[in-house]
Amino acid sequence: METFNNFLGGTAALFGDPIGVLIFFGGVVGGMLFGAIPGVSMLTLAAILLPFTAHLSAEHGIMLFSVIYCTGVYGGAITAILFNIPGAPENAPTAFDGYPMTQAGKAGKAVGAAVMCSAIGGTVSCVIMMFATAPIASWAISAFGPPEIFALVFFGLAVAASVGAKTFWKGWLSIMAGLMIAVVGLDPVGGIERYNFDMPYLAAGIHFIPTILGFFAVSEIFVQAEKKATGAYKAPKLSVDFPTFKELWLHKIAVVRSIIIGFFCGILPGIGATLAAFMGYNEAARWSKDRINFGKGKIEGVISSETANNSATGAAMIPLLALGLPGGALTAMMVGVFQMHDMEPGPLVFINSPDLVWVVFAAMFFANLSILLVGFLEAKTIVNLLRIPFQFLAPMILLLATVGSYAVRGLVIDVVVMFVAGVAGFFLRRSGYSVAGIVLGLILGKIGEQTFAQAMQMLHFEFSGFLNRPIAFGLLIAGAVTIAGSVYGAFFKKPPAPADSESA
């Protein structure tokens, strides 16, 4: 009952304040648009807005970012489906099935499924977040130390290796390449400069925003440009027929499974929506009787991925607000907003500024609901983007990406890094590697190394210490089994009948 009263109080505070309402709707529309415009993402918007939140109150700043988070995670699905450009890594699995659906002329169904599942996943996760923040936070504090987080990162990477690339080896190499990019810069324990190659720029590490923009947005332009130049480019077919409620009801188990997976992935610091989406997708494929058709345009793939990533948004706020640990790129920027207002995110926020917490919770709840309304209206507008000839869209996307990567730190070299990543992504994709895998490795690399170092210090450098921590041990074993299974499969199982792509 107290939770409900707090929620009502937060809602009243949110909608009773005209500036707050303005910021709320600005965030809803901005997050969706930036998520949906190919080549930019909610991270671009957040990065551009971050310096300006200093002029807002802490409450408004955090609320704006949380709203952008909810609607941006959904918005990224639109471009993943229509252009095969995931707005952010968490939308990558959506593209696996969403884009083939677009090519088959079923873009409307895929977008409709993304709208409904994002709203469902996000709203349910918000409600759980409101009730469960305090108890879950106290459990996570005691049960999840560095060994568990490291084990989870390991398990997440092992699972991700089998998604998206042409073979397990290429998936694994993609992730390892991402981990190596993350190594550049300062080491997390001693602050020693690594792989700077005597360049001051590299001393601070390679920033993930230009890298993500390059690997996803720019390399996609190059791939399309090559097709365009050789006449192989086909404009996606248009259609706006949303799935009926009955169609979605068929996949109710996938939705519930993804909500649970998304929530648990989201709650773990540093993992967030990306792993949620990959695992939601992976589990949907694993349990499906029609597994072989995943990746070829199954609506269940879109449903499981989009439900899971939005379900992670509510959960990701728990470690941020309860422990001060960001669950991903956007929540890391929220830490920046807190710091700009001389606040530290953490348990004290609950005591010192309960109003802030409940306004943010209420804003997230309504932002997820508004996906349903605005999402349907906006999806039809976005579908019209397909009518723009690609030679006009391409310079726009490349320039937006330029502005986005430059705005993060005001460094021209970031723009160069982005375009180099784009070229690298183009060649890697040609050879069957997974750019999503590289980006996942890049984002989880720092956290993985840091938690490994902390874990080893905690366990006095004894690997056997993992045996006494059942959660960590279980996750490590699960990861190892996943890898072993893939290696075994590569050598001892017969390859499947040639896929469509092989016959070309």
Partner: protein
């Protein structure tokens, strides 16, 4: 039966050379950390070992199975089939490599030459402009025959010139360049769409969000950029 192709040898060679270079460089920062027994090198070295193992594993797999997707990966079908044969030959790779090198030549060479010859700060700008013009002509000659390589290199060239010539002067040229390389030949369309894209971008980011984009540091580009920013804000 071996199903190996040249690209398979190239792949394993690429990864192993990468591992060797990074392993060698790891001795540069191989320092002790008092509170952490494994130091700063254990993590990258383990990753390098795993890269080497995976590269060799992939090579053995390719020897047995060729290019077939393995049975236990999902979504292999979402990536497009192998690249167009027109853009895989040695000649194509070579000309693309030269195109991609042009921006980096601009970033490094003119300043080195200026330092060696003792060209003064005031004249450096002019010297860089002339270098840029020469390299741009070289780019045009090669990109004329290799459009895909031209598209890959143009954004990097654009980025390498940003510091000196600024976003405001370069963006229209860049927009026109991308459109032409992507096959647009109707000059009226180019003339209409270019100011539209340029205008929308500037209105949104410069007038509305006050994002400071690079204005360049060589006159007259610098003056133009600043004039435009003052006008818009």
């Amino acid at each position: 039966m071996s199903k190996l192709k040249f690209s398979h040898y190239f792949e394993v060679f690429f990864w192993l050379v990468l591992v060797a270079v990074f392993f060698g460089y790891s001795f540069e920062f191989n320092q002790n950390i008092e509170i952490y027994r494994y130091g700063a090198t254990l993590w990258p070295r383990v990753i390098l070992l795993l890269i080497a193992l995976a590269a060799i594993g992939q090579f053995l797999d390719q020897r047995k199975n060729g290019d077939k997707a393995s049975s236990n990966t999902m979504a292999a079908a979402h990536e497009e089939p192998d690249a167009n044969p027109e853009h895989t030959g040695f000649k194509w790779y070579f000309s693309t490599f030269v195109l991609l090198a042009i921006p980096f030549i601009y970033m490094v060479v003119p300043e080195k030459i200026a330092a060696m010859r003792g060209i003064e700060e005031a004249a450096l700008g002019q010297f860089k402009l002339i270098s840029a013009a020469i390299l741009f002509v070289l780019y045009l000659i090669i990109a004329w025959r290799n459009h895909v390589g031209g598209i890959l290199a143009l954004p990097i060239l654009f980025a390498s010139l940003l510091e000196d010539m600024g976003f405001y002067a370069l963006a229209p040229v860049f927009i026109v360049g991308v459109m032409i390389l992507m096959g647009e030949r109707r000059s009226t369309r180019i003339a209409l769409i270019t100011p539209l894209i340029y205008g929308v971008l500037l209105a949104f980011f410069v007038s509305l969000l006050y994002v400071g984009l690079p204005t360049g540091n060589i006159s007259p580009f610098y003056d133009f950029g600043n004039w435009l920013v003052t006008l818009l804000q």
